[in-house]
């Protein structure tokens, strides 16, 4: 017996007519602009077949290097489900009441058509009739669009979602403070940020009480052999994070043949622990005794790096901080290529709070 189709089926896609963009550029809080012919044209939503702004792919959320890791199959880009597909406009639609402003959807748009202005996310729907055209949503249409986007993806350009500030970060941290502590939002957020920064990342399944490792990651490119375990600690028990990461490294070493010295493990926290809490002293002890450099990254640092399409190298342990050096400001600025616009100690994003 045949199955029924859904009412809300896709009907159209957008493709470039005959001229493809030669370059793309973006300034903060604006949609990107495409260089078409000799003209800079404001980018607009391509109504992608499988919209990367909404959905991650299987190969991004799985790390085959960790064959024993039972991972979550939530493919959502938006950790708070603020983005939905509008079958009416045939573009994604962002619910600004739910949106926390993480920018993950924006930095995954292949043409930079999603942007944030005046505290609101927007999707550019008005497209250039001269350079783009709507075509029926058919197999050949999908193939045509995929082919064009493959060419666009080869253009070396950087998203510029928004420039960080204490105020912006406070808003995001405030929004996250209302999140149910048991929800998957922190883990999804961290996973998706790392994916946007060029890694594959898998998080443990929601409700799986038997897997103690929060997440694992590995390099996306075949030449990048970096891999590691991740502990995600958005609460205050950062000492538990240092214990957990030692547990993770040992379990992976012993049971999954991931050599402990190869494991570029890290802790991702909401805010850097206070110096007196003892976390950074223990991180230093671990380095002294076991020779393991556990990196510490904050959510804020990951966001800032993501908003600027920064390229990071976790394999080089550039985000290692311990009791003797309590900051990742320098490493973050190095990757941004500029001074960072966050005051010292703000929310514990780059160093412990004052």
């Amino acid at each position: 017996m045949s199955l029924l189709d859904r009412n809300d089926r896709r009907k159209h896609l957008t493709v470039f007519r005959s001229i493809f963009p030669r370059d793309i550029e973006q300034t903060y809080n604006e949609p990107a602009r495409l260089l078409l012919s000799e003209e800079w044209v404001i980018s607009s939503c391509m109504s992608c077949d499988d919209p990367p702004c909404m959905r991650l792919s299987e190969h991004e959320i799985e790390c085959p290097e960790f064959p024993e890791f039972s991972y979550e199959r939530d493919f959502s880009v938006c950790p708070v489900r603020a983005i939905r597909w509008s079958y009416e406009s045939e573009t994604p639609e962002i619910d600004n009441r739910l949106c926390i402003g993480c920018g993950l959807c924006a930095v995954r748009c292949p043409v930079g058509a999603i942007y944030r202005k005046d505290n609101h996310m927007g999707v550019v729907r008005r497209r250039s009739e001269q350079y783009t055209v709507r075509i029926p949503y058919t197999r050949s249409g999908v193939e045509k669009q995929r082919g064009q986007l493959t060419i666009v993806n080869k253009i070396a350009w950087k998203h510029r979602f928004q420039k960080e500030s204490d105020q912006i970060m406070r808003k995001i941290y405030h929004a996250l403070s209302n999140v149910d502590g048991r929800s998957m939002i922190p883990n999804l957020l961290v996973r998706n940020l790392l994916i946007s920064l060029g890694y594959k990342c898998a998080i443990s399944r929601s409700g799986d009480v038997y897997t103690r490792i929060d997440a694992v990651y590995s390099g996306k490119a075949s030449w990048d052999k970096t891999l590691g375990a991740i502990e995600i600690e958005f609460g205050r028990d950062t000492l538990d994070a240092s214990r957990s990461i030692l547990d993770d490294i040992a379990v992976l070493h012993s049971r999954s043949n991931i050599d402990k010295d190869r494991n570029c493990a890290m802790v991702v926290c909401l805010s850097f622990p206070n110096k007196r809490q003892g976390y950074f002293q223990v991180i230093k002890d671990i380095k002294n005794v076991l020779g393991l450099e556990i990196q510490t990254l904050s959510l804020g640092a990951l966001l800032i790096l993501t908003w600027n399409s920064s390229i990071i190298n976790l394999g080089k342990k550039e985000f290692y901080a311990d009791f003797d050096h309590l900051s990742i400001r320098q490493a973050t600025e190095f990757r941004l290529g500029r001074t960072i616009n966050i005051s010292e100690g703000c929310l514990g994003i780059l160093e412990p709070k004052k």
Binding site: S2, D5, S70, Y71, W85, L246
Partner: protein
């Protein structure tokens, strides 16, 4: 009260497991529980003993099926899928299973699409039905009743109100529903009244308080996955207590409003109609579910029109709320839908055991031998303990009885009593022991055996913190070792043990053993675990008959200390 069991409550995993099963068995007439277990393990959608995939499958094989965690996992999902009407039993038993027409749509829907159909299936859950054996008698479409109750209770409820509210009502009886709401409202406003009502419910069912509480887990997970409710802490429902409650969302409210407009058909009424009408109701039930979930019913519009005409008097111009696969047996539904299932054989999975075995407990015997061990009599605590032991011995009690009396006496000990007590027992054994000051960040261990060569950090868990030594204690013991070696506050060697001491040995002995072995393999450090009873046996033996014990065995302890009394 409806007993929802406590199976897999995670929406994304439910969907993923179902899609994986569909991929594997959609071309089979049926599939078994073993097939499901195999697929769930292979796709790494479950873990057992810290392993996933084939290793988990191998580790969970036991002769007793009820101890086979992979199979139990499969059973859990089978139950959810049957409840949602995605699979149904073939034949008279519970297994094997086959996919239903609704199940086919779920399996073929993308992530976004599947939510709307999922919602319809959740609303479709009703009782009585003919597909599952249940222990309760309530005649209720629970999720409809729950949504309406939320509306009548100002949009907010505490989870246990579900138990003595919509889980305990025949919702078609308007008077009974009204009385239920009146009662819920009368209990509000006082935490003591809530406690009394909940206790009365448990007493009337002759169950422990945990059972109704556990029964709320699946329905809450369903409602949250559908986006009908969200958590909200409130102290206004049952003051002065602040409780994590559930708040009806706008979407939940819209859903409640929309289902009020439908003709809600239940089993009893369905069975009252003749065969032709029943077949029409089955088709209308399924197509209206799919239509509400956003499916295009144009291809079957002529059938819908015809069936609507047949059922005109029943429907009274309303759309139908009736989920056949969740109410009646699959063969009756299939016959009405014109679905013919090929009687090909079901697939059977051969499970081969991987080369991984569960690790048995790592037991290390500490030998007691005749000797002339001297107890430190300069220590007041030790002296007092020694006198207590001797006085008990004077009553002709055996060592084992003395140990039991002291052990029982410590069951309620808090950190302030338990930590010094454990330290004192080690001093009885002749060690120099120092208890850390609370809040001393430099000494993260709770106590330390100070030695010229082999100082040993001790992580202690009092019975009021945790009765059974946990994985957490083992992890802390490792951290203590790392800190001691790094900070050099006391002399020690990498080979010297780091101890975790608690009241009882761990519940999950196998996982603790695995972790101790993992730490040894990865870092080369030994973690020793001693429960209070074992420590007491050594200490009391030393006092009573001057036994000496193997100090080296303790200093090098890896795993669980064991001692036999002579």
């Amino acid at each position: 009260m409806i007993r929802f069991r406590n199976p897999g409550t995670q929406y994304t995993t439910q969907i993923q497991v179902f899609k994986e099963l569909y991929k594997e068995y959609s071309d089979c007439a049926s599939f078994s529980l073993d097939d499901m277990a195999h697929t769930i393990a292979r796709t790494r959608l479950m873990t057992a003993y810290g392993y996933a995939g084939g290793a988990a499958l191998a580790l969970s094989q036991t002769e007793n099926d009820s101890l086979n965690s992979t199979k139990m996992n499969a059973k859990m999902y089978a139950e959810v899928f049957r409840l949602l009407g995605w699979v149904s039993s073939v034949g008279s038993g519970s297994y094997p299973l086959c996919f239903t027409y609704i199940g086919y749509h779920v399996a073929n829907a993308d992530d976004e699409e599947v939510r709307s159909l999922y919602e319809q299936c959740v609303i479709g859950i009703n009782n009585p039905q003919e597909i599952m054996d249940v222990l309760y008698t309530e005649e209720v479409r629970f999720f409809k009743a729950a949504l309406l109750t939320f509306q009548d209770m100002d949009g907010i409820m505490y989870k246990h109100e579900l138990c003595y509210g919509p889980m305990s009502v025949d919702d078609l009886d308007a008077q009974q529903y009204k009385r239920m709401i009146t009662r819920l409202k009368s209990i509000r406003g006082s935490y003591a009244r809530y406690q009394k009502a909940y206790k009365e419910l448990c007493d009337s069912l002759s169950v422990k308080p945990t059972l109704p509480d556990n029964s709320t887990r699946l329905p809450i997970a369903f409602m949250k996955s559908c986006g009908w409710v969200e958590s909200e802490r409130s102290n206004t429902l049952f003051p002065p207590k602040s409780l994590e409650c559930l708040r009806l969302t706008q979407h939940g409210n819209e859903m409640a409003e929309s289902i009020k407009m439908l003709k809600d058909l239940r089993l009893k009424e369905f069975r009252s109609y003749d065969g032709k009408v029943r077949q029409a109701l089955i088709r209308l039930g399924i197509y209206s579910m799919l239509e509400r979930a956003g499916y295009d019913t144009t291809p079957v519009q002529s059938i819908i029109w015809k069936d609507t005409a047949t059922c005109e008097e029943i429907l009274n111009s309303k759309k139908l709320l009736f989920s056949p696969y969740q109410t009646i047996r699959v063969d009756e539904v299939d016959a009405a839908m014109g679905i013919v299932r090929e009687s090909t054989s079901s697939r059977s999975t051969n499970v081969s055991l991987a080369g991984i075995q569960r690790t048995d407990s790592l037991n290390k015997r500490i030998r007691l031998s005749a000797g002339n061990n001297l107890v430190h009599d300069s220590d007041e605590e030790v002296q007092s303990f020694t006198e207590k032991v001797k006085s008990l011995r004077a009553q002709n009690l055996r060592i084992v009885d003395i140990v039991q009396i002291i052990f029982d006496g410590m069951i309620a000990a808090t950190q302030t009593r338990f930590y010094p007590f454990v330290a004192m027992l080690f001093r009885v054994l002749g060690f120099e022991v120092q208890v850390s000051r609370p809040g001393d960040n430099g000494a993260r261990w709770d106590a330390i055996i100070i030695d010229e060569i082999n100082s040993i950090p001790i992580e202690i868990k009092s019975p009021t913190e945790e009765q059974h030594i946990s994985l957490k204690a083992i992890r802390q013991a490792l951290e203590n070792k790392v800190i001691l070696l790094s900070r050099n506050t006391h002399p020690t060697t990498p080979e010297t043990t780091s101890l975790a001491v608690g009241y009882y040995l761990p519940n999950d002995r196998a996982e603790v053993t695995n972790l101790i072995l993992d730490f040894k393999k990865a870092y080369g450090f030994s973690i020793g675990v001693i429960d209070l009873s074992t420590l007491l046996k050594i200490a009391v033996s030393v006092i009573v008959d001057g036994s000496s014990f193997d100090r080296q065995a303790l200093i090098r302890l890896e795993g669980f200390a064991r001692v036999s009394l002579r």
